[in-house]
Structure formats: structure tokens, C-alpha cells
């Protein structure tokens, strides 16, 4: 009980702190981070416009104080001007950035040859970027990508400060194609909330190493809001308590994202398109400083493949079958609730006056929005578990689908017997989204825009889908339906302290965590041969009855004399 109160308290404190710290940096409208019902106070605070000054910048051990640089001691009219100033010294930075998928939003899977990246993939959250660039590209590390005419080679289009500034005042507002606002503006529209224009001079002078808040300014808000997408990445990681993230706890190890995603020349290692599922038998763990292609962001790259002490040797025998994350991230969304389902098919309901509707669930989370449809949220979620060998296959826009079945937006390949798979915890995000009911392919809706065709302005699917597909330069039959979809996300962040790791019986029991994992025999799970069990117990029982009868007979014979 006491520990529960402690957890609740620490969540409350963390929630409030995080809210205060990140209120400036949030690029998307953050739903109130409603957590446990006990935390009624936290959302209230979080919802307040954060007027508190950003905490003083911690003394850094860098050899350069950018506030003393002449190039930065001027008034910047636009963000690209800041970039130009950066590039006067950091001559190669933009060239490096322009080679990364953070910039191209494109990734060719070397194994499957599928063309992925945000530019191409259709997911089951906001669905697709195409035709909605102005809005979605608030999370592009560039300026001005609003349509296919964007110049990917212009160096001043690279946004340096979103990843390097430390004032917490720099915010890329959706709708501005990746720019910050240059004058105070109301966002979201009609919300009464004012986003202040950042002081670009101060922002430029504050630059340093990329912090959790920098990465988080986009990655915490994936899927259109705080904690929506991943379940293991949200704003509670800006300053997480120990129970939430044993590596990132500020008073403890205080890891930044880059401690694991050890970046060189702006190439950030680690990928969901081609993850390293099993860093075990085939390759030695990555060693920092060693020149090779191994992934430094796996658990094994620091902990090795036998991380448990000798007295727990049995656990080391599990590492060739089970991903570390399976036991060490017992639940995800431990900081705040994550979105679990999104049903686009119900979007577009309006009041009799033709106004859009929003509804909240009992915990105060968005449950319905005319723009987006129905949602459900969950916190402290027990993951689903699958064999995973790192190979991911996507249902792309041109992939034929079977509308009578649940369409897997991405499917994780793996099995007990391929020798490359481990059992991984995953978040499965489920929903319904538009598809072309003649050609049986996924559709690109045009959601955001001031024009007549965007769904968010006129709630008309016909126009929205036609415009979206036209922008994507793809054929559309004109007939649409809604298909059930599933998308899988590996759970790998928010590693819990060891005391919270799964215990043996949470899997080795009937109806345990791994009850649906096939292809292996697990003691205690009830994988037993039913015939042997039945036969064994029956013969044992008959033997017992036999000897008891024999004994009774002897006693009777004795009495009789």
C-alpha cells in the first residue's frame, strides 16, 4: 500500500514537473496527461498555460559558450537565418543532416527493399503525411516542407535548434510547415491558448548537446499528441522518476536519448523499420569506440548477453530466447496513458448546427473528436508478446489487402525455430481507417488544410480522399470503406528498476504473460502432455487404492484370526 502511495506521489510530482518543463516545447496539442484517478491535481496543473520561467541552464562542461559568439548576438527574423549563423562555424552539419532519415523521411529497408519512412508509410494513427505536410512536418527537422516542391538540398532549411536549443521556448507549431511561429498566435485554433513567438536570439545562444526534451519535442508527441503513439516514449521521460526509467532518472544515471542512441555525424542509430531484435549469438555486443556496423542502442551493447549475477545464472540462460525488455519493461505507459485504439470510421459526426464534437472519457482523455473519430487510452499496459527477428513487413499504399481480415500495417517476422528471434514485448495499436473498396488498398486522406477538400474543414470523406490520393499521385476508384488495422510497436524504452522486473511465475504459470507464444515448451505453463499426466495420475491413484485395499484385507484377516 505504502509503495503504491509512493508511486502515485512520484507520478504526481513528475507529471506536474514534466508538464511545466515541456509546455513550451510541445509541438502538438497535448491532451491532459491524465494518469491514475488519484492524480486529479496533475492534469489541472498541466492544462494551465505554463508561464513559469524555464529553469536556468545547468552549468555545462562544454568548451564553448554560444551566448558569447558574435554570430549569435543579433536579432533573427526567421529560423533559417539562425541556421545560416550556425553553419558559419559548423560547416558540415547541414550536409550531415541531409543524409539522415530525420531529414529525408525516407528509409529503404535493406532486407525487404520496401520504401519506408514518414514520406511513404501509411500508419493507423494520423495515417499519411502526403497532402498534410504543413501540419505533419512540424516534426520535420527542416523549414518549409509544405509540398513536393521542397528543396531538400538547401542548407538553411535545416532546423538546427529544435534538436540543440535548451530554453524550452522554441516550438514548431503544426500548420507552419516546420517553422516556429514568428508572432504570438492562438493554437490550437479557437482554444484560447497563445503560443508565444520564441526569442530566436536567446534560442540560438542556448544551444548545446541534445537533451531528452529536444528529442521529445517530436518523439514524445508522435501520433498527434503526448503519449499517443509509442506507449514507451512520452513527455513523462523529460524528467522521469526512477521507477519509470532506471537509466534516465535525473538524480541517477540521467541518460539522455543519445547515451544509447550514440550518434555520430548526426546519424542516430536505432530503428523501428529495421530493428536489432536479437543482439546475441551471431555478433559480439557493440563496444563503444569499436569501428563496426553493430547497433550501440541495444541493451546488450552495454550489458552483454549474460548480465545477471552468478546467483541468478538461470536468468542468463533465458537471454537467447527472451529480449531483455520482456522482463525489464513489465508494463508500458507507466508515466501516463497511451492511445490504444483509433477508429476513423466514426469521424465527422457534427451537431445539428453543423459544429464538430469532442468528448472526453471518464479520466478526462479525448474519447471522440469529429476530426479524428473514437479513441481509447490505457495506462500501465501489459504488452503483447511475439517472436521477433527484426524483419518488419509493411502494408504500403500500393499493397493489396484483404478487407475481410484485420490488416497488419506492419507485421513482425519471427518464430521459435528461426534461430534469430527473441520474444519481444509489443504495443499493438488497433483501429479502422479508410481504404479503396475497389482496388483494396489503403487510402491517403487529406486531413489538414484551409481548402475545401480537407477533412478537418468540411468533414467530407469523398473530397478528402480524392484530394489526398491526388496529392499522393495515386489512383483512387472513388469508392471507400473502413478496414480494421493493427500496427505493432516494439516496447524498448522506460526500463524499470530491477526490483520491478517480471518474476519467473509471471510467465511460468497457466495463463501467464507468454500464454500466446507458440513454438516452445515452457515448464509451468501447462504445455504438458495431457495423456501422460492423465495416465500417470490415474496409475498412481490406482496403486494407492490397491495398497489400501490390500492393507484393509490384512487387517480384516488378522481380526478374524
Amino acid at each position: 500500500m505504502l509503495s503504491k502511495i509512493k508511486i502515485a506521489l512520484s507520478t504526481l510530482v513528475a507529471g506536474a514537473t514534466v508538464a511545466a518543463l515541456t509546455a513550451f516545447a510541445t509541438p502538438a496539442p497535448a491532451p491532459a496527461p491524465a494518469q491514475m484517478p488519484a492524480n486529479a491535481a496533475a492534469p489541472a496543473q498541466a492544462a494551465m498555460p505554463a508561464a513559469t520561467p524555464v529553469p536556468a541552464i545547468k552549468a555545462s562542461n562544454s568548451t564553448a559558450d554560444h551566448s558569447k559568439f558574435k554570430e549569435l548576438q543579433k536579432t533573427f527574423k526567421s529560423a533559417p537565418e539562425v541556421t545560416k549563423a550556425c553553419l558559419t562555424c559548423h560547416t558540415e552539419a547541414a550536409k550531415q543532416i541531409q543524409k539522415t532519415k530525420h531529414w529525408t523521411f525516407e528509409f529503404i529497408n535493406p532486407e525487404t527493399k520496401q520504401k519506408l519512412g514518414k514520406k511513404h508509410v501509411i500508419n493507423n494513427f494520423c495515417t499519411a503525411v502526403e497532402s498534410n505536410q504543413k501540419f505533419c512536418n512540424a516534426c520535420h527537422i527542416g523549414y518549409g516542407w509544405e509540398n513536393d516542391k521542397f528543396d531538400f538540398t538547401a542548407e538553411q532549411n535545416v532546423d538546427c535548434v529544435v534538436c540543440h536549443e535548451s530554453t524550452g521556448t522554441y516550438r514548431k507549431v503544426p500548420g507552419l510547415s516546420g517553422h516556429p511561429t514568428y508572432k504570438d498566435m492562438e493554437f490550437p485554433p479557437h482554444s484560447g491558448k497563445i503560443v508565444k513567438a520564441p526569442d530566436l536570439s536567446k534560442v540560438a545562444q542556448s544551444v548545446g548537446k541534445t537533451s531528452r526534451a529536444n528529442c521529445g519535442s517530436c518523439h514524445f508527441y508522435g501520433g498527434g499528441g503526448d503519449a499517443v503513439k509509442h506507449g514507451d516514449i512520452d513527455s513523462s521521460l523529460t524528467n522521469p522518476p526512477r521507477y519509470l526509467d532506471v537509466h534516465m532518472e535525473k538524480k541517477g544515471l540521467n541518460f539522455s536519448c543519445g547515451t544509447c542512441h550514440m550518434t555520430s555525424a548526426h546519424q542516430v542509430p536505432g530503428s523501428r523499420y529495421a530493428p536489432t531484435a536479437a543482439d546475441t549469438k551471431d555478433a559480439a555486443p557493440h563496444m563503444r569506440g569499436k569501428a563496426d556496423n553493430s547497433n550501440p542502442s541495444t541493451c546488450q551493447s552495454c550489458h552483454g548477453t549474460k548480465p545477471h549475477p552468478a546467483k541468478m545464472a538461470k536468468l542468463n540462460e533465458h537471454t537467447d530466447k527472451i529480449a531483455c525488455q520482456t522482463c525489464h519493461i513489465p508494463e508500458y505507459a507507466r508515466g501516463q496513458a497511451t492511445k490504444m485504439t483509433w477508429d476513423w470510421s466514426t469521424a465527422g459526426k457534427l451537431t445539428p448546427e453543423g459544429k464538430p464534437i469532442t468528448k472526453k472519457d471518464s479520466a478526462g482523455r479525448n474519447a471522440y473528436d469529429s476530426k479524428k473519430g473514437d479513441f481509447t487510452w490505457e495506462d500501465h499496459v501489459i504488452p503483447e508478446y511475439v517472436w521477433f527477428n527484426g524483419k518488419v513487413n509493411y502494408t504500403l499504399r500500393e499493397t493489396k489487402l484483404d478487407p475481410s481480415k484485420v490488416v497488419k500495417i506492419n507485421s513482425f517476422e519471427g518464430s521459435a525455430s528461426d534461430g534469430k528471434s527473441l520474444i519481444w514485448p509489443i504495443k499493438v495499436f488497433r483501429g479502422q481507417q479508410p481504404y479503396d473498396s475497389v482496388s483494396n488498398t489503403l487510402l491517403v486522406p487529406h486531413t489538414f488544410g484551409d481548402d475545401d477538400t480537407s477533412f478537418w474543414s468540411n468533414f467530407n470523406w469523398d473530397k478528402s480522399l480524392e484530394a489526398g490520393m491526388k496529392a499522393a499521385n495515386a489512383p483512387y476508384s472513388g469508392k471507400y470503406g473502413f478496414v480494421k488495422t493493427e500496427m505493432s510497436w516494439p516496447i524498448t524504452h522506460m526500463v524499470a528498476p530491477k526490483a520491478d522486473a517480471l518474476t519467473c511465475a509471471q510467465c511460468h504459470s497457466h495463463n501467464g504473460r507468454l500464454k500466446n507464444v507458440t513454438g516452445i515448451y515452457m515448464p509451468g505453463r501447462g504445455d504438458n502432455n495431457k495423456w501422460l499426466d492423465m495416465g500417470g495420475w490415474t496409475i498412481a491413484l490406482l496403486t494407492l487404492i490397491g495398497v489400501l485395499l490390500h492393507g484393509a484385507g490384512r487387517i480384516y484377516a488378522n481380526r478374524k484370526g
Binding site: 538461470k314 516452445i520 515448451y521 515448464p523 504438458n528 502432455n529 496403486t543 495398497v547
Partner: protein
Amino acid sequence: MSVEKIYVFKLFERFWHWSQASLIIFMLVTGFEVHGSYHLFGFAKAVGYHTIAAWTLIGLWIFAIFWHFTTGEWKQYIPTLEKVEAMIKYYALGMFTHAPHPFRATQLKKHNPLQRLAYLGVMLFIGPLLWFSGWFYLFYSEWNAWGVDKYVSLEWVALFHTAGAFFMLIFLIAHLYLTTAGHTPTSHIKAMITGWEEVE
């Protein structure tokens, strides 16, 4: 009918018997919990206890094998079919009619023919079945290094190990009862405690 006492079980033998008996019972209890038949210690502890007991029993057996060969006592287990029929008749009928026991224990022949067969079966069949399957179970993560992972599956190893456990359980039930089938209901038990058996 005179009753005399003969010294049949030496100190080490009695120590071996009772420690082995406790270990086997304990391993049945913990083993069937690991199997998933019930909850008692909890899975993690059951596995830990079972493993410790297994290594202890292995240690005990090394001593026991050494003892049997140095003392020549292994000959006590040479099987014979002589009087087997008589023994079966005695258990089936004779015991109820106060017929004399067809076997008289001596220091050279302390087990009756059925005991010889049963104990030999335990040592040559049930024992090895449990040992080998148990070892494979214990060294599951080494299969790859040993190069046997293609030929052995945990499912079959567990199946054999569980089958062995059922045999052992059935033996135990019968054995516990037959300890009362001596000259008097307690004479076998007393012998296994004190070493001295009452014989007719």
C-alpha cells in the same frame, strides 16, 4: 516359531536410504510444482530447490556407487526369478491366511526376489530415465554449444522426465506400503532405522 535378529543394513546404507528417500520425496513435491500441477513454494523457489536437491542426490549417488562396489553389496541386486512366484502368491493370498513368508533374509541376501527386481528396476530404469532427462533439462541452454539442439527438444525431455517422476511416485506408493509387509508390520521399518531385522 522363534524370532531372531540379524544385522542387514549397515550405517552408510541406512544413511543413504533415508537421505535419498527425503530427497526423492522433496523432488517429487517440487518437481510437480515446476510441472504446473499445483502451487506450493512458487515456481522460482520450486525450481531452485529442485535443482539443489538434484545436485545433492548426485553427490549422494557417487558415494553410494563407490560404497556398493567396494563392499560388494552390489551383488544384493542381482536379479533372480527363484521364488518370485512364491512371493507373488504370498502377497496375493498367503498374507491373509497367515502363511509363512517364503523368503528369509540373511546378510548375504537381504532383499526378497521381488525387492531385488523392484530396486534394480528403480536403479537401472527409473533412475537413469530421470538422471538423463534431468541433466538435459538442467543444461538446456548448453544444447546449442553441445550441438544437440537439432536432435533434442525440451518438450520430449520434459515428457521423459515427467514419465520418470510418475514411475518414481508409483514405486514410492507401493514401496511405502510394502514396508509393512515384513515379519511384523514394523519389522522392515525398524530394520531400516536400526539396521537389525527381525526374521522368523
